[in-house]
């Protein structure tokens, strides 16, 4: 089966100016990431803020051009942002945002906004009926459709965004922190809705979040990011059960889990990651409890580490790699 979405060693840099003399400084938000999303699978992307996961999500959708590397969707390279081909592709790939209120026009009714993609892409048929159906699919009533965004709750707004994203029957949905702005009690409902929709429609999903609990619930595969690079990737159950990279171990051990704790609690020390001051070698080494001299100078490559798994750490035994 060929991949729906492929990111091939993409990198994205931002230039910032600081101080009166305008000292140029290049920040590498994403640094050579390769990923694939298969049709119908959910790939979870985990990382702290500043790990470049949102930038990567925007590149996956073609909202930003990678400075290096390439993105292809369904076997074809991503068209230029804003071109007619790019606009046409939008009906096949959609996005769910962190702040649903900001993503909605406060002067339009919810139903009008849900069916707007049909108008934009000139999709024939009864748009209103399709809109009502979409409302029902995300668990909202016909009555909700007549309201304005500010008359809905946060969870309802996110359902509206999901309904709007799915009305063109896309193949790929990128969710960027879709539940982190919601109350914890609402989060589970929205996540369950996404899981249901993903299963019934065979959607491929890229689910970006800093919240391991949510990612574990929804993803079939996960990638852990640290300062613009993937440090570990693999089937969700295995990565969460037996993380190999010290950073993944720390993350997993810090997250609350049901049942007996399998790995020892690892407490992260040191500065939180800052993309503007990227450490040499393995970017994680200043906080790594097991770092060696080699970690300070040499960047570890992302190499196979078990069936369907990859990790980027010098300390993972070559033997383990061979065993894979």
């Amino acid at each position: 089966m060929s991949a729906l979405l492929t990111l091939d060693t993409v990198a994205r840099e931002y230039v910032t100016r600081k101080g009166l003399l305008g000292h140029r400084r290049v920040v590498r938000a994403v640094d050579g990431v390769s990923l694939q999303v298969m049709p119908g699978e959910t790939l979870g992307i985990v990382g702290e803020s500043g790990s470049g996961k949102s930038t990567m999500g925007r590149m996956a959708l073609g909202l930003e051009r990678p400075d290096e590397g390439s993105v292809s969707f369904d076997g074809a390279p991503m068209p230029l942002l804003g071109s007619a081909a790019w606009r046409g592709l939008r009906k096949r790939m959609q996005m769910v945002f962190q702040d649903p209120l900001a993503a909605l026009d406060r002067r339009w009714t919810v139903l009008d906004q849900i069916i707007e993609p049909l108008t934009i892409h000139g999709i024939p048929g009864d748009a209103r009926a399709a809109g009502l159906e979409a409302l029902a699919a995300v668990g909202l009533s016909r009555d909700h459709g007549a309201r304005y965004p500010h008359e809905l709750s946060g969870g309802q707004r996110q359902r509206v965004i999901i309904a709007r994203a799915l009305i063109t029957n896309p193949d790929l949905l990128v969710c960027d922190e879709p539940v982190s702005a919601l109350d914890v009690s609402i989060q589970a409902q929205v996540v369950n809705l996404l899981i249901d929709l993903q299963k019934t429609r065979g959607l491929a999903m890229m689910f970006i979040s800093h919240d391991l609990r949510v990612v574990r619930q929804i993803s079939s595969r996960v990638a852990v990011m640290y300062l613009g690079r993937i440090v570990e990737e693999g089937p969700a159950a295995q990565v969460f059960h037996d993380p190999q990279h010290p950073y993944s171990r720390a993350l997993v051990s810090a997250a609350p889990t049901p049942g007996p704790r399998r790995i020892e609690q690892v407490i992260l020390t040191g500065e939180p990651p800052n993309p503007a001051a990227r450490p040499s070698g393995c970017a994680f080494h200043p906080r790594c409890p097991v770092a060696t001299a080699r970690c300070r100078t040499e960047v570890p490559a992302l190499v196979p580490a078990g069936p369907g798994r990859r990790a980027a750490c010098h300390l993972i035994e070559p033997a383990a790699k061979v065993a894979a």
Partner: protein
């Protein structure tokens, strides 16, 4: 002009909601504006005489002396009331036309600046600086000196007045709308930029733009009447409010009413629009300075 009026009005739902708390002077101002618009629209029906008709039996008749000429007549025996009505029509036509042109021009340039950024934005901002750096009266006078005068040119020229304010507002609001998310979200749905700007951003910033229009409109009236007063705006035999004042100035010692009638209309109209505008601004958009 009929199609101009609804555009200049505030969005209907907002206005309905705000109507009950309107202070008396704002109601009065709205009443006066309404009357002026009605007078302008119906001017052909309600002028008692042709505004150029001379009645040599009645020259320099004072106001309130005969029923045929309630506001008196001028040196040539022309009916002041009729001339006033036609002047209101001409002045309002110029002011409405110019305000709309300037709003459309400024908003478009502001959107272009916000959309393309970079060089386009710098060029727009530079033009705005240029416009703000020169007193508009001087600019207008130079253009009139070079091009001579006609009504369309005058409207077009007045239409350049104040565009830089809309441009700055539209640019700022469009940039923040894009940063805010709904514009990005709609772009992400695959919408053309024109759709994003016209269907989404424009309605969202309309109230601010309308308030700016109420600030520019009285200034355009003052500008046009100033130019016409100097004899460089609307040219005879056509007449406008400023024109009447300019003409009446020659008779200030013998027939001050010729000049007082249009002066009163100018003052009351600008007063009414600014009162209503200030009130709208407080109600709709407290962020505007």
């Amino acid at each position: 002009m009929t199609d101009i009026y609804p555009t200049a009005a505030a969005p209907a739902p907002a206005r309905k909601r705000l109507l009950p708390q309107m202070p008396w002077y704002v109601a009065l101002g709205m009443g006066w504006i309404g009357t002026m618009i009605l007078v302008a629209l119906l001017s052909e029906l309600i002028t008692p005489f042709s505004f150029t008709a001379m009645d040599l039996k009645y020259r320099l008749v004072g106001p309130f002396q005969t029923l045929t000429h309630p506001l008196g007549t001028d040196e040539l025996g022309r009916d002041v009331l009729s001339r006033l009505i036609v002047s209101i029509r001409v002045s309002l036509l110029i002011a409405f036309g110019a305000t709309i042109i300037s709003a459309v021009l400024g908003t478009t340039l502001g959107f272009l600046a916000a959309h393309f950024r970079g060089l386009v934005e710098q060029a727009v901002l530079m033009l705005a600086d240029f416009q703000a750096a020169l007193p508009f009266l001087i600019l207008a006078l130079s253009v009139l000196a070079f091009f001579g005068n006609s009504l369309p040119l005058l409207i077009g020229l007045m239409g350049l007045y104040g565009w830089e304010r809309y441009a700055r507002i539209a640019r700022g609001l469009a940039i923040s709308a894009s940063a805010q998310g709904y514009a990005t979200a709609i772009t992400q749905l695959g919408a053309q930029p024109t759709r994003v700007y016209l269907r989404h951003i424009l309605p969202n910033i309309a109230s601010t733009l309308i308030v700016s229009m109420t600030l520019v409109f009285p200034e355009v009236i003052l500008l046009e009447s100033g130019l016409s007063f100097l004899g460089l705006g609307v040219q005879p035999p056509m007449t406008s409010l400023g024109n009447m004042v300019g003409y009446g100035r020659e008779y200030i010692t013998r027939a001050a009413w010729i000049m007082l009638a249009p002066s009163t209309v100018i003052v009351l109209t600008t007063l009414a629009v600014s009162l209503v505008g200030d009130w709208l601004r407080d109600k709709l958009d407290p962020t505007l300075g």
